[in-house]
């Protein structure tokens, strides 16, 4: 197992764009012996800049685990995960990778602005700068009015939009969303997906969404399937006409 960064800082190699994240023969097994559970089995894939991928599969198929591997939150037990275009490991590089979690992921004791600003502060930004960028992110998503609210005071959809704003504020190049609509009703889920797609488009970032909601998958460019920890890549779906402003 190896988790490495690239030797070169260049985003191209032989005029071919470098992938944001590259997984080669990656496996992740929890436990050992008879108790061992293989969450991801020998997955090989790359995510390129601007790609919008839906990672679909049944519950327990390994979607979240693969996403965590892409985010650098888990280490593979076999194989390598690298981030050639991001200049190193994403841990400690929140500008490069942003994660939207399935459940409540806001810090309960911080208000919305502080939650959105937190990754920036952790990355060394001055407090006032971080707050300003957080306000901008909230403005982008049209939720400025929620700035002073506490997570407990938000609805599920509002909380997910704040989570998206938190990712947006960090201006990552790769956005990973783990079942972002899993706990939302259809209307709210549609709103959150709209917000996410717009944010990614504004950033020009790549997007990988783990979901078992076909309606979400249909709105993305590529669909990767997972079953029993195995990843099945499929040819990109037919190109859909893009709405104005979806891509910068």
């Amino acid at each position: 197992m190896k988790v490495t960064g690239p030797e070169s800082k260049s985003n191209t190699e032989n005029n071919r764009p470098l992938p944001l994240v590259s997984a080669v023969d990656v496996s992740l097994t929890y436990g050992s012996g008879a108790q061992a559970v293989v969450a991801v089995h020998r997955a090989t894939c790359e995510v390129m800049a601007g790609q919008r991928i839906a990672l679909v599969g049944a519950s327990g198929s390994g979607k979240s685990t693969l996403l965590h591997l892409f985010a650098g939150l888990e280490r593979p037990t076999l194989g390598t995960v690298t981030w050639p275009a991001l200049g190193g490991r994403p841990l400690g590089w929140p500008r490069s990778v942003g994660v939207v979690f399935q459940g409540p992921s806001l810090i309960p004791a911080l208000d919305v602005v502080e939650n959105v600003a937190l990754p920036l502060v952790l990355n060394g930004e001055a407090d006032d700068v971080a707050r300003e960028r957080a306000q901008q992110a909230l403005e982008q998503l049209g939720i400025t009015a929620l700035g002073a609210a506490l997570p407990d005071e938000l609805s599920g959809g509002q909380a997910q939009r704040v989570a998206v704003a938190r990712v947006l504020a960090s201006r990552p190049r790769l956005v990973l969303a783990d079942e972002p609509t899993g706990q939302l009703d259809r209307i709210t889920a549609d709103t959150v997906v709209e917000v996410l797609l717009k944010a990614v488009a504004d950033l020009g970032a790549a997007l990988v969404v783990a979901t078992h909601d076909g309606r979400v998958a249909d709105r993305l460019d590529d669909v990767w399937h997972m079953s029993d920890g195995r990843l099945h890549l499929r040819a990109p779906a037919p190109q859909k006409p893009l709405a104005a402003g979806e891509r910068s």
């Binding site: 939150l73 888990e74 979690f101 309960p108 004791a109 937190l118 990754p119 407090d127 997570p151």
Partner: protein
């Protein structure tokens, strides 16, 4: 179902169960150990009473009763060890002519009393008569009477009896009557009767001589002589003063009934046991009061520990409800859990109390009698069960009725202040506390005399209300201050924690501000524990300091040598040579007249006495001990007088005062001029009322008598008894040698004779454990509850160092606020405790003793507990965030 549930709890929630049971055990052990201590202290009180009352009963024969019949009846009564007849007769006065050649004068006293003592009375009732000078047998004159008549052993005194009869006697010895109050009591006085002051003039005669002397008066008036049977009793069977009192008084009544009016029983032992019974009741309340906060704190901690699993418990309850269990069944399962931890905690606590009692007090019993042992154990166990119900059952019932999981998790920003805070209950409580304190401090406690002359404490139970309200009020006020600081004082706190949290200080302080209710609770819990430790430690240290000061005052020094016949030879050198002796201070003891008032006069060596003895500044007013002794040295005619003398004679510093002292050559009282320089409130070996202190050399030159009566020996506080033995072997039997270890058991009321050492160690031990638990446990639980927050922060890019900064800054704020708040509250509480419980201190303390070493250790233990909790919590912070999130 119940068994399955219980087994599941034991298997899967063993940590929570063990911690809750441990908290319950702590409360139970503290309460039960208190029972053990009280058992020991009650036994001490009873033993002391029995020791301090040589004549248990004074049975006065009533006319026409026959003394011989009464004596036989008393001797036949159960538990009587000795019974002897004593004659009592009033006199119209005493007269003596003293002096030499043409300077002879005659002194006449007012009415007095003569006693006809049987042979061997002194041996039968040790402690009733204390020899001061001359022979121990024959005609003995009381010290004050001897001074009034200017007589010494060998002089003659005329005894004047009613009817104009009189007789001459030759004095053999001068004695002190320590039990004069009870010896001259009015036998048969009603319960509300005022004590009778003992007569000023008393002479003790051998019985035969007494009979001869009083025969003419008796012939005229049969009531001129009264016979009392003085009886000693075996120690009561019960160590409990209340039970012993019942036994002894019942026996006394039984004797009166048996004698059918032929005699009345003056029940000295019963009266003393009655006083001890009251003291014992007071002691129970006092010690419960001192330990009460510990029990409350242990309870609160247990509730907090049990509450740490509240989320899980709510989920489990919700699951049980969805599986079809009715609320009553869910409550039933919670009751089973509460019962299990309650019983386990109570059993553990009682076992711990028995072990602690055995080690600390030498007895595993939890009460003075089997009944009280069972009562204490039952009370402690019931308290344990109540704590369990409070910690486990009550939250279950409350949750079933109202709360949702999300509501319980709510951070509660903008939550209104609690009702008590909005109503200002804390301010009201503190105001009432101040009011109670003011009213109690105004009156203070006093030592009063029962009709039989037994010292007892006049107790004002309202006094306890002041410290209780102060403790509660300061806790509430501290909560309010913390809440306010964390709400409004964000800027200053941010600056304070910047060195710890660095760039995250704003985030940290914002988080703290939102969690201010939880943090204020932690601060208050820690502060309460700290204030409990501070006030308990300070109170017991002050108690010890004063008990030692009392013993030192009573005995005069570590070892005191009193010469029956004072000599001019300075024995300082031979005493200093004895191993273990650090310093020896000679002391003159004379009597001097201030006007018509005879007072003790102490002649001191002002250049050495301050360093050689434990003279405290509190013994004097008008200057420190050293300053006043320097004045005595610089101006040898200086004198320190009592406040009473200052008031009675309208004296001021610098005033001339002529004292009358006995001249060594003529034996006459001559006037010697002194100048008042200050007030002596206490002095080693001095009585508690009026006395004088002057320069020994000046007294010697003015009276021609340099005789030294007493030597105060300082052993550095060690080996007093051994040094006293050495002194006895060196100086022989002509001197009386006492050491402080004897004095410790004879001072004050029965309550102040209780050695609080064991209780102090016990309470201080518990206080440390509780304070450490309050600091460490609360932090550990807080960190555990916030694992999800820390995991999320880590996922968002926080480094381990940043996370540690977040945790440490919050820990620092809680610890510093808690320690400072606790120290301030503890200080205030200590001062109030010492002030309102002034009556248990003898003498009252001028300064509070602060046990810095103990407080330092407590602070260190709290810091260590907090650090340990931080380290253990910090280990979790280093775990992979996703792994942590997956588990939560």
């Amino acid at each position: 179902m119940t068994g399955l549930w219980l087994a599941g709890l034991v298997r899967n929630r063993s940590g929570r169960l063990v911690m809750t049971a441990a908290g319950i055990a702590l409360a139970v052990a503290l309460l039960a150990t208190l029972g053990s201590f009280l058992a020991t202290s009650q036994a001490t009180m009873t033993a002391r009473v029995v020791r301090s009352v040589p004549v248990a009963w004074q049975v006065e024969v009533q006319p026409p009763g026959d003394p011989a019949t009464v004596l036989a009846a008393v001797q036949a009564a159960a538990d009587i060890t000795v019974a002897v007849p004593v004659g009592v007769s009033r006199t119209t006065g005493f007269a003596a002519t003293t002096g030499v050649a043409d300077q002879r004068t005659t002194q006449q006293t007012g009415p007095g009393v003569i006693l006809g003592m049987p042979d061997g009375y002194g041996e039968d009732f040790p402690g009733e008569i204390r020899l001061l000078a001359g022979a121990a047998t024959g005609v003995l004159i009381a010290q004050q009477t001897a001074a009034n008549l200017h007589v010494v052993p060998g002089d003659n005194v005329e005894v004047q009896l009613p009817g104009g009869h009189s007789g001459n006697i030759s004095i053999d010895g001068v004695v002190d009557l320590p039990q004069a109050n009870s010896l001259f009591q009015k036998v048969g006085a009603g319960p509300g009767a005022q004590p009778v002051a003992p007569p000023d003039n008393v002479i003790l005669l051998p019985r035969a001589q007494f009979d001869n002397l009083t025969a003419p008066a008796l012939a005229l008036d049969p009531s001129a002589v009264v016979t009392q049977i003085h009886a000693g009793r075996a120690a009561p069977a019960s160590p409990d003063p209340a039970v012993a009192f019942t036994q002894v008084t019942a026996a006394a009544r039984n004797l009166e009934v048996t004698l059918a009016g032929a005699a009345l029983v003056g029940d000295n032992l019963g009266a003393s046991l009655d006083a001890a019974r009251s003291d014992s009741r007071y002691a129970q309340i006092l010690f419960l009061f001192l330990a009460g906060p510990g029990v409350v704190l242990a309870t609160v901690l247990t509730v907090v520990v049990a509450g740490a699993g509240s989320d899980r418990r709510r989920r489990e309850q919700a699951l049980l409800r969805t599986r079809g269990l009715r609320p009553a069944q869910v409550i039933g399962l919670a009751a089973v859990e509460a019962g299990a931890v309650g019983i386990a905690g109570a059993a553990l606590g009682l076992a711990a109390a028995a072990v602690i009692g055995r080690v600390a007090f030498g007895s595993a019993s939890l009460g003075a009698s089997p009944l009280s042992a069972v009562a204490w154990a039952a009370a402690a166990a019931l308290t344990g069960l109540a704590v369990a119900a409070l910690a486990v059952l009550l939250p279950t019932v409350r949750d079933l009725r109202s709360t949702s999981v999300m509501a319980a998790r709510s951070t509660g920003r903008g939550a209104r202040l609690p009702l008590w805070a909005r109503l200002g209950v804390d301010i009201v409580v503190l105001a009432i506390s101040a009011l109670v304190f003011w009213s109690v401090a105004r009156t203070k406690y006093t030592l009063v005399l029962a009709p039989e002359g037994v010292p007892t404490i006049s107790v004002n139970y309202w006094a306890f209300l002041g410290p209780i309200l102060l403790w509660l009020g300061s806790a509430m006020l501290l909560w309010r201050v913390c809440e306010l600081l964390l709400r409004r004082g964000v800027g200053p706190i941010r600056s304070l924690i910047r060195p710890i949290a660095g760039p995250l200080s704003a985030t940290s302080v914002a988080s703290m501000s939102r969690r201010r209710i939880t943090l204020a609770r932690s601060v208050v819990l820690l502060a309460l524990a700290v204030s409990f430790a501070v006030s308990t430690a300070t109170f017991t240290a002050t108690y010890r300091q004063q008990a030692e000061a009392d013993a030192l005052l009573t005995n005069g020094a570590d070892v005191t040598v009193t010469q029956a016949a004072p000599t001019a030879t300075d024995g300082t050198g031979s005493l200093t040579a004895i191993p273990g002796v650090r310093a020896v201070e000679p002391l003159q003891h004379r009597f001097a007249y201030v006007g018509a008032d005879l007072q003790d006069l102490y002649g001191v060596r002002p250049s050495t006495i301050v360093d050689a003895t434990a003279l405290a500044d509190a013994y004097f007013s008008g200057g420190t001990a050293r300053e006043l002794m320097a004045q005595l040295a610089a101006n040898p005619d200086s004198v320190l007088v009592s406040q009473e003398t200052i008031t009675d004679f309208q004296l001021s510093p610098g005033d001339l005062i002529n004292l009358r002292l006995q001249d060594a050559t003529t034996q006459e009282y001559i006037e010697v001029p002194f100048h008042v320089v200050g007030v002596g409130k206490e002095f080693p070996t001095a009585p508690s009322d009026s006395f004088l202190i002057a320069n020994a050399d000046y007294i010697a030159s003015a009276t021609g008598n340099p005789a030294i009566g007493t030597y105060l020996i300082d052993t550095g506080g060690r080996n007093q008894a051994a040094v006293a033995d050495q002194v006895r072997s060196v100086l022989g039997q002509d001197v009386t040698v006492t050491d402080i270890t004897q004095a410790r058991s004879h001072v004050g009321s029965s309550l102040t004779s209780v050695d609080l050492g064991g209780l102090s160690r016990l309470e201080l031990g518990f206080a440390v454990v509780i304070a450490a638990a309050a600091g460490g446990l609360v932090l550990a639980l807080d960190l555990a509850e916030r694992r999800r927050t820390f995991a999320l922060t880590r996922v968002l890019g926080a480094t381990s160092r940043q996370l540690r900064g977040l945790v440490s800054s919050e820990t620092a704020v809680v610890t510093v606020f808690g320690l400072v708040g606790g120290a301030v509250a503890g200080w205030a509480l200590s001062r109030m405790l010492v002030a309102v419980l002034n009556g248990v201190f003898d003498p009252p303390p001028s300064t509070i003793a602060v046990p810095w070493a103990y407080l330092g250790i407590t602070t260190a233990v709290i810091a260590a507990a907090v650090a340990l909790a931080s380290v253990v919590g910090g280990r979790n912070l280093n775990r992979p965030a996703v792994e942590e999130l997956r588990e939560l």
